[in-house]
């Protein structure tokens, strides 16, 4: 009894002592620079421009026959019919027989990190040294002189693209979103203010790359276990840093890998998850709930059609090919109606390339998928289908408030096509990025030629 009371008193005394002793106030938390390689992109000058008499898809599901598009100062100023007035001094372009759309956005590209020529010295897409490499950033691999950027612009009408690390790893690293404007540095192409993405992968690639070396993961269950283990560490890291950011004190040691994952758990970095099979997508969705993050997009989602209802409910986009199939086991159940089926269920559908050639004709890929859907009884209009090419990828990248549609005030990322862009016979005629004309089929000086191609056979060719 006595003993116990004495102890209590002693404990109280200790507590009192601790609370009354003057201890130095903990240092205020020092913020970490979350943008140490900032964009240096600046839009190039452009004239106030009016395109008239064109068929316009605004990217938001609307179509204007005999449409007018007005842009200047880098921004869309108006979209509508022939009644729209021209600002004083505007350049007038006759779009009769032509189409105008928002620039195409490819949510999945390796231009720059797997550039042309595809030689070992240029191979910078997979840091395949550990299944978890969230610390690597694709922008540190991007070679801005990859000739593929210019092909994507002039043949594909690509104005924005996300460069991802490869899929060897469960956590491949950070992506970077670029404006398709050539520059001396990758920072010079970075889309100002675009959120980072995190490349994740499930399925065959990680288990093959590491399993073949006798390491974990060797199986799909290994993939999941390893990934969960990393998220558990990331949660602990986040708790530690949240506490520091709240209370200050000694700054915990920074960990680049964990910083990226904390960014995901904070909702600042968007998850782009390479995942082919429906059953694995469902597992990754459960994992996102387990650890409290959101998946923006499943990439190469060839089986999305099997769980399109689930994807609609979860608000997750699917980035898909029109008709690639069977090149590996997890692509075996690809169907040509995948994109329209996903769209039809109310989920977000995106046409993506993952390919330096395919990125030059995403409009034609969309056309095939659209036609396959219609033959299966799903009637989607051309103007709504264009959402797969600009609006939905912009949404998946967190930049829909700035580009992806021709809404007034958005970036003037615009393509004038020389015919119906859902035809194999059609090409971009002119492309504007932030209102600056970056390509004109009728002016060879408005066609970028990369450093690499100077002095090579075929320099400056139409390509």
């Amino acid at each position: 009894m006595i003993g116990r009371g004495a102890l209590t008193v002693a404990a109280l005394a200790l507590g009192a002592c601790a609370s009354t002793q003057s201890k130095p106030k903990p240092a205020a938390p020092v913020p970490i620079n979350e943008d140490p390689y900032p964009s240096t992109y600046e839009r190039y000058p452009g004239a106030v421009t009016v395109i008239r008499h064109a068929t316009v898809f605004d990217g938001d599901g609307k179509r204007f026959d005999n449409g007018t598009v007005v842009f200047g100062d880098g921004k869309i100023q108006a979209v509508g019919g022939p009644e729209l007035a021209s600002p004083a001094g505007a350049v007038e372009i006759d779009g009769t027989g032509k189409w105008v759309t928002p620039g195409i956005i490819d949510v999945h590209s390796h231009l720059g990190d797997y550039p042309s020529p595809g030689v070992q010295g240029n191979s910078d897409g997979n840091e395949a040294t550990s299944p978890a490499r969230p610390e690597v950033w694709a922008e540190h691999s991007v070679w801005p002189h990859d000739p593929g950027f210019s092909r994507a612009l002039i043949n594909g009408g690509i104005t924005t693209l996300q460069i991802l690390p490869g899929s060897a790893n469960l956590f491949g690293g950070r992506s970077v979103v670029l404006k398709n404007v050539s520059a001396r540095t990758s920072q010079g192409m970075k889309f100002p203010g675009a959120p980072y993405g995190l490349k994740m992968a499930c399925g065959e690639n990680p288990k093959r790359v590491y399993g073949s070396k006798g390491n974990m993961p060797q199986t799909r269950m290994g993939n999941i276990a390893y990934t969960r283990g990393v998220w558990i560490k990331a949660q602990a890291y986040k708790r530690k840093w949240d506490k520091y950011n709240r209370n200050g004190g000694d700054m915990p040691e920074r960990d680049l890998a964990m910083e990226t994952l904390k960014g995901v758990l904070d909702g600042k970095i968007l998850v782009h998850n390479h995942c082919y099979r429906a059953d694995e997508m469902a597992l990754m969705i459960d994992m996102s709930h387990e650890f409290g993050y959101k998946i923006s997009t499943f990439h190469h989602a060839v089986e999305s059609y099997k769980i399109a209802d689930l994807l609609a409910r979860e608000g997750i986009c699917s980035a898909m090919w029109a008709d690639w199939y069977g090149f590996k086991m997890e692509a075996y159940d690809a169907i040509k109606e995948n994109i329209p089926f996903v769209h039809n269920s109310g989920a977000c559908a995106i046409v993506h390339s993952d390919d330096a050639n395919g990125i030059q004709r995403l409009n034609q890929e969309a056309a095939k998928a659209l036609a396959d859907g219609r033959r299966a009884g799903i009637n989607i209009s051309d103007e709504v289908a264009w959402e797969w090419l600009s609006r939905n990828p912009a949404k998946a990248l967190g930049i829909l408030d700035r580009t992806g549609t021709l809404a007034t005030g958005k970036m003037a990322d615009v393509v004038l096509w020389n015919g119906n862009p859902f035809s194999d016979y059609t090409r971009p005629e002119r492309v504007w990025i932030d209102g600056a004309e970056m390509y004109d089929a009728n002016n060879s000086k408005r066609r970028p030629v990369s450093d690499f191609e100077l002095g090579q056979p075929g320099e400056g060719d139409t390509k």
């Binding site: 042309s116 020529p117 099997k306 199939y325 069977g326 169907i335 089926f341 095939k368 036609a371 056979p457």
Partner: protein, 437 residues
Amino acid sequence: MIRRALALLLLATAAPASAQTFAIVNGIVATGDGSAPVEGGTVVVRNGRIVAAGPGVGVPAGAQVIDARGKWVTPGIVAGFTRLGLAEVDLSADGSDDTTANNSPFSAAIDVVPSINPLNTTIAVNRADGVTRAIVAPGTAKSIFAGQGAVIDTGADMEPITAARKFQFVELGETGKDKAGGSRSAAHAMFRNALREAAELSRFARPIAVKGERSDDVLLTRFDAAALVPVLQGRQYLLVHVERASDILQVLALKREFPALKIVLVGVSEGWTVADRIALAGVPVIASAVNDLPASFEQLAATQSNVGRMRAAGINVSIGLIDDTDTRNIFAERQYAGNLVGLTKIPGATGVSWGEALAMITSRPAQAIGMGGEIGSLAPGRRADVVIWSGDPLEGSSAAEQVFIDGVSQPLETHQTKLRDRYRYLPRRDLPEAYRH
């Protein structure tokens, strides 16, 4: 006796659907010979062969009539260079892939025929998209020589071979350099040595059966050397994969040195820079349609105008799928051909006419390997490989609605269409999805 019985049995299985006479009427008909499509055309088929095609063709009495009003009618697509039927799955399903024999002691002797599986789903998927014939080459393993390729049909039967051992395939560019030990010089030395060994064996009527008459310093197995005898003698085509301009010229030089060689160039991304020389040599080309990237140092001058410029120089050009990444997507050839037409609208670019673009994926590849009289067009006497399309076949958005091979109507169902039908509607029913079939 047994042989005759077997022949009768084969006839019996092929006969029922093909023996009939039928006419496809009212369609927009393109014959595949380079001419423009004509409206209101008729295609008449009898006993699995084309009788006539074009406007003003009469329908024979008693013929079954198929109305193709609003549809397009063309020869089936002939894929210029592929691995069709060799791999069910390219990666991560080893047992299903016969493309490349990395651990075989043989090279030129390899014959692709035993590897062709007519029930391969890639054949069905491409058949359903109007591909009716394909030139199929094995992949190179340890040697510059890949082996002997075949021409196949995509029919839903167990007889896929149209022409076995039609050609030998050899790599003499970057891949050839690697296979030969590290340089193009080594690849050419290996090539010349192989022809020398073949020449030595060619003195014998039965080069494999003869014993002992070879030099001591041979590199090839007897079987491989013997397989090159028909190449040396010009009885078998030689498909040579090169991309770089200088590599192309080296092959043309080989042609001058060994005039009997029946060379067809494959790939040829920089062909436009030496197009006059290729045309002068009279060598046909099977090219990638729209390669425009310096994907390797042998393709620096790549441009989508390559095909058009070579054609303008007078070369017989056809389209193939040279990159193994897209060889199962033969249906893309229609789209690429359409892209070549689209180039005619681009200032500074060189495209081709619609009729020529169709020819490049039908009659031209057949002609390149001496089969133009047999497949690839709707000219009288050709095998009746005919496709009725929902629209312009050079638009990827058009679909094959009916496909005939040797006059036989083909099923268009695939693994993919069955999955499509199973998952068209997702709401839960009384039984799981697996019961929908």
